[in-house]
């Protein structure tokens, strides 16, 4: 079997070579070969030592007996492992104005996004019949932008493609699957729309629905309205003469593929009851349902398997965020259990035969993603399944299995190359290919593997803040780093207080703090980069002109 396969691959490579040669003007830089690497194809057995050939954005060949074409740029893969490019199955990447990430512990795709919602209302669909939040016609395709720090951070840990969905709403709108490179939105999109997205957060500001009760009724009523709209259009098409013309309605029109079961619906649901409710609603309207979040999905595994509902499982694993305080209430047993059991969900779903894919789920630090995957492996998930949950499973669930998710000839050349195992503590992403092109990645701040560089920022820093028109100010920043999490406080002429939304990812440091500028308390966002024991970057203050800062160490952690 391997022989037949490799022969086939050789044949197809040759074919492609000839085909390529005829297009004379194509630049040679389109062709790459990673040689002598271990290849985790996902679709077939692992190739211990082989070559992957990339040409014209696609995988041209992969196998033990493949030789690098003469025009290929050769990357010596000795000691490296090539995986299909990782797919993050639920993100808000490439959407404008990324808000500071909410604190972790809320878990999954669900909770986190809702916090953002109040700050950032998407622009409403033009001429919509519905208020913002109830506009299924909204498409991320229309608003995504290439580039940005978040996309870079994701690529640095080997994410090559992502489902990106609207940030908020009840009918949130329609998502797209994008490659995390490209200079235009058009180049990024692999598939759009992928799915309709539903969140269960009530509208704020006094309008209906203002509670979870009303959210369900609104979803129901709009789906009933869409059914009637569809039927009315059919009747009108049949006999426009003599029938009163149905009013056009973009919102209801967008729901027709949903109620017809043609477009999947992703519902944000984490707890057992949230998932059960979503399953009930899905069954009531015969929807093609996908659950996103899924923290307690293992508790409804039977129903998920039976109704064939896949889960986009968040790796934003909950953990205690508070310090010890002797006089505090003991945490409820339920909460203690939830945090521990969330680590086992992936393994249990795999055993129960529930289809799932991993997602980062509004994680503070995207660099936790692989470390948290390791935790799920330590808690019962097979490593091979963990790889699938980042590759072929999301591809299948999101309908791009012919384009992405495995190392097979003809698929899009998204590849993640590592030294060491992908989920190993000492593993490291060395190369990332997206659409057949290598992308620059930056190694983690401390050198070493994922999650290393522990405590590297802890200590006291002297920060020189230079604000336009206000001269320089020197403040003291005290930082505490635990893994990739960051906390601490500032003090000095700009005021004193805790920092929030703090993160460090691959050397990118980011935090916000309340500062006193021109007699007013304002929110300042610091984002900088760690290099040579110095953090340099920009300060953005709401309502003020921006500035820069440089932080140098003034003390080690005590």
């Amino acid at each position: 079997m391997p022989k037949v396969r490799s022969r086939l691959i050789v044949a197809s490579t040759l074919l492609l070579l000839f085909a390529g040669a005829s297009k004379a003007q194509r630049s040679a830089i389109d062709t790459y070969a990673i040689t002598n690497a271990r290849i985790v194809t996902v679709s077939g057995p692992v190739i211990d030592r082989g070559t992957v050939v990339i040409r014209n954005g696609l995988i041209a060949a992969a196998g033990a007996n493949v030789t690098a074409p003469s025009d290929a740029r050769v990357i010596d893969g000795t000691g490296l492992t090539v995986y299909p490019g990782l797919i993050d199955s639920y993100t808000n990447l490439a959407l404008p104005e990324a808000a500071p990430s909410p604190s972790p512990g809320g878990g999954g795709g669900g909770g986190g996004f809702f916090l953002i919602q109040q700050q950032q209302r998407p622009a409403g669909g033009p001429n919509s019949t519905q208020p913002v939040g109830l506009q299924p016609e909204v498409m991320v395709e229309d608003v995504i932008r290439p580039g940005g720090a978040e996309i870079e951070s994701a690529r640095n840990i080997g994410i090559t493609a992502a489902l990106t969905s609207p940030r908020s709403g009840i009918w949130m709108g329609q998502s797209a699957l994008i490659n995390l490179s490209g200079e235009t939105p058009q180049q990024m999109i692999v598939r759009s729309p992928v799915a309709m997205h539903v969140g269960f957060t009530p509208l704020r500001g006094g309008g209906y629905p203002g509670s979870l009760l009303g959210v369900f009724s609104t979803l129901r009523q709009m789906m009933l309205d869409a059914q009637r709209y569809r039927d009315s259009l059919e009747i009108y098409e049949r006999s426009p003469r003599g029938t009163r013309r149905p009013e056009t309605d973009r919102s209801l029109a967008a729901l027709i593929p949903v109620i017809d079961g043609r477009m999947p619906v992703v519902m944000l649901a984490n707890s057992e009851r949230e998932i059960s409710r979503a399953l009930d609603l899905g069954a009531e309207f015969k929807l093609k349902l996908i659950i996103a979040g899924g923290r307690e999905a293992d508790q409804v595994a039977d129903r998920l398997a039976k109704q064939n509902v896949p889960v986009l499982l968040s790796l934003n694993l909950p953990r205690r965020t508070t310090a010890a305080l002797p006089e505090a209430d003991p945490e409820p047993l339920r909460v203690l259990r939830e945090r521990v059991e969330a680590q086992q969900t992936a393994g249990k779903l795999a055993k129960a035969g529930v289809r799932f894919a991993f997602q980062s789920g509004s994680m503070t630090n995207i660099s936790d993603l692989l470390g948290n995957t390791r935790i799920t492996i330590e808690n019962g998930l097979q490593t091979a399944d963990a790889v699938r949950a980042f590759t072929i499973w999301p591809a299948e669930i999101l309908g791009v299995q012919n384009q992405l998710g495995s190392i097979e000839v003809g698929k899009i050349a998204n590849l993640t190359v590592t030294r060491g195992d992908l989920f190993d503590r000492n593993g490291r992403v060395t190369n990332v290919f997206i659409d057949g092109r290598p992308v620059d990645i930056r190694p983690p701040a401390g050198g070493g593997g994922f999650g290393s560089g522990r405590n590297s920022l802890s200590g006291t820093w002297t920060v020189n803040v230079s604000l336009e028109g206000q001269g320089d100010k020197s403040i003291t920043l005290s930082l505490q780093q635990e893994g990739d999490r960051l906390s601490g406080s500032i003090s000095g002429p700009l005021g004193a207080g805790e920092i929030s939304n703090a993160s460090v990812s691959m050397g990118d440091v980011r935090f916000t703090a309340s500062v006193n500028v021109e007699g007013q308390t304002k929110e300042a966002t610091f984002s900088g980069r760690l290099a040579n024991n110095e953090i340099r970057g920009n300060v953005t203050i709401v309502g003020s002109s921006p500035g820069t800062f440089t932080a140098t160490r003034s003390g080690q952690p005590n």
């Binding site: 006094g206 309008g207 209906y208 629905p209 203002g210 509670s211 979870l212 009760l213 009303g214 369900f216 009724s217 129901r220 009523q221 009933l224 309205d225 009637r228 039927d231 009315s232 009747i235 009108y236 049949r238 006999s239 003599g242 029938t243 009163r244 149905p246 057992e272 009851r273 059960s276 409710r277 694993l317 909950p318 953990r319 205690r320 965020t321 508070t322 310090a323 010890a324 305080l325 006089e327 505090a328 209430d329 003991p330 945490e331 047993l333 339920r334 203690l336 259990r337 945090r339 521990v340 969330a342 680590q343 505490q480 635990e482 906390s487 601490g488």
Partner: protein, 469 residues
């Protein structure tokens, strides 16, 4: 000896087979025989030294010296057996109680927001409660749809639903609806209605629309027989339940306090030809007991919560007794996760304040609420053929010193005091282990955890909107 061991093994294996098999498909409840207890049947008096046999989830036999060789036997000597208490006004296990943005929210359904893990349910089981009428809050003249549940704590939500219970809806009148306790805010338009007159208008308007809606559909169905190209009218989830009320298919549970608004609602109901099934709270009901009885409505109330708000100033503790004597079906409800644990005492108060008989008082929390929810054929008394929903008390349930030993629903144990106590060391051990687990360890830095504080609870008339975590 060897043969003996083999035999033992064989028996052991054989006897585990059916057990495992039945566990897989959730067996019907095990057979249980309560021996030699005092049985408060509610409908057939108090029976001394009596046995109660539960089989297949039903009460199979009541009598002396019953024989049931396969049954688990519970010694009831010195104990009391009482039907499971039915709480006709509860907001337990609801993730959210009010959809307060509109004055008419008949499209919302409490069934959509059930939380089967609410610990209050377990506490209610420990108070001998087995059935709840889960109502929408009282923010709107016409609120959301109710859900009647058996407290099958630990089971999926679908198993909670009381089979065959009449669908219901919450109405509300008075202070909560007109938002009189909420201050005016500059720049914010108050939601209509703001007066009791407005409340009446909102309800009349809604039923007028419901009547038109029904007519539109009736006309469409008639016309669609001839014309296949007719576009059907819009389905309106707000009006459909109101049509059901007009057709007598849905019970109205109306939150109210003062006599005038009670008469107002009776008049609207008469005008549109429907019935109010229960007046809830109804603290001035004694003033119009005759009219309520004539309408055929029930009353579900507090025993003694007088004067806690303006509407409640005229409340008297004799309300239940006066209305019972006027021929109204009366029940005592909790409207509170805390009070729900001691509804037995709420019923007992009616003996103290109004000289009801013991049986009349028992009915206030058993058969009468069952009637008010249309489930009296299945629960509310201890009779052969009814659901085995009952509790064993260690003393007479009307004594403040009594407590529940075991609560059964459909013949299955959902609370057992001994089991609960026995599990505690095990839970303490689990907690200790969990607290050591990595995700549960306190951070060296981070926000302070919550320090002890008063547990928020919902007030008796569900005005306060406390959402449970």
């Amino acid at each position: 000896m060897k043969r003996f061991i083999a035999k033992l093994l064989f028996i052991a294996i054989v006897s585990t087979i059916p057990l495992n098999a039945s566990r897989a498909q959730r067996p019907s409840a095990p057979e249980t025989l309560i021996r030699n207890a005092t049985v408060l049947t509610v409908t057939h008096g108090t029976l001394q030294n009596t046995d109660v046999l539960m089989r297949n989830g039903k009460i199979a036999a009541i009598g002396k010296n019953l024989s049931a060789p396969n049954a688990r036997v519970v010694d009831g000597t010195g104990k009391y057996v009482m039907p499971g208490i039915i709480d006709c006004h509860s907001h337990s296990m609801l993730d959210t109680i009010n959809e307060g943005t509109l004055a008419v929210t008949s499209m919302v359904r409490t069934q959509d927001v059930l939380n089967t893990t609410d610990v209050d349910l377990y506490r209610e089981l420990a108070g001998g409660v087995t059935t709840l009428n889960l109502l929408h809050g009282s923010a709107n003249p016409i609120g959301g749809l109710n859900t009647v549940v058996k407290i099958k704590y630990g089971r999926p939500a679908s198993e909670f639903l009381f089979p065959g219970a009449m669908p219901g809806i919450k109405f509300a009148l008075g202070e909560n609806v007109k938002r009189s306790s909420q201050p005016n805010q500059p720049g914010v338009t108050r939601r209509y209605p703001n007066t009791r007159m407005g409340v009446e208008e909102v309800i009349r308007d809604a039923f007028t629309r419901a009547r038109d809606y029904k007519r539109t559909w009736d006309e469409y169905r008639e016309a669609a027989k001839k014309d296949k190209n007719l576009i059907p009218p819009r389905r309106d989830l707000q009006l459909e339940p109101l049509v059901e009320i007009l057709e007598g298919k849905r019970y109205v549970h109306a939150h109210c306090y003062i006599a005038s608004e009670i008469l107002m609602l009776i008049n609207i109901a008469d005008e549109f030809g429907f019935k109010i099934k229960t007046f809830q709270h109804v603290l001035e009901g004694y003033k119009v007991a005759k009219e309520i009885a004539a309408h055929g409505a029930g009353a579900s109330m507090f025993a003694d919560s007088w004067a806690y708000k303006i509407e409640a100033y005229d409340a008297i503790p004799y309300n239940a007794a006066i209305m019972t004597r006027a021929g109204v079906v009366v029940s005592m409800n909790s409207d509170s996760d805390e009070r729900a644990r001691r509804l037995n005492i709420e019923a007992a108060k009616a003996m103290h304040w109004g000289d009801l008989t013991e049986e009349q008082a028992l009915k206030l929390v058993t058969l009468n609420p069952a009637i008010q929810l249309g489930i009296q054929a299945r629960v509310g008394s201890i009779e052969v053929g009814k659901d085995a929903d009952l509790a064993i008390w260690n003393g007479h349930p009307f004594s403040v010193y009594s407590r529940v030993d075991t609560t059964f629903i459909d013949g299955e144990v959902f609370f057992d005091r001994e089991q609960d106590l026995a599990r505690r060391p095990e839970l303490a051990k689990e907690r200790a282990a969990l607290e050591q687990a990595e995700p549960n360890r306190p951070r060296t830095q981070g926000a302070s955890p919550q320090t002890p504080r008063r547990r928020p609870s919902k007030h008796e008339d569900d005005d306060v909107e406390v959402e449970k975590p």
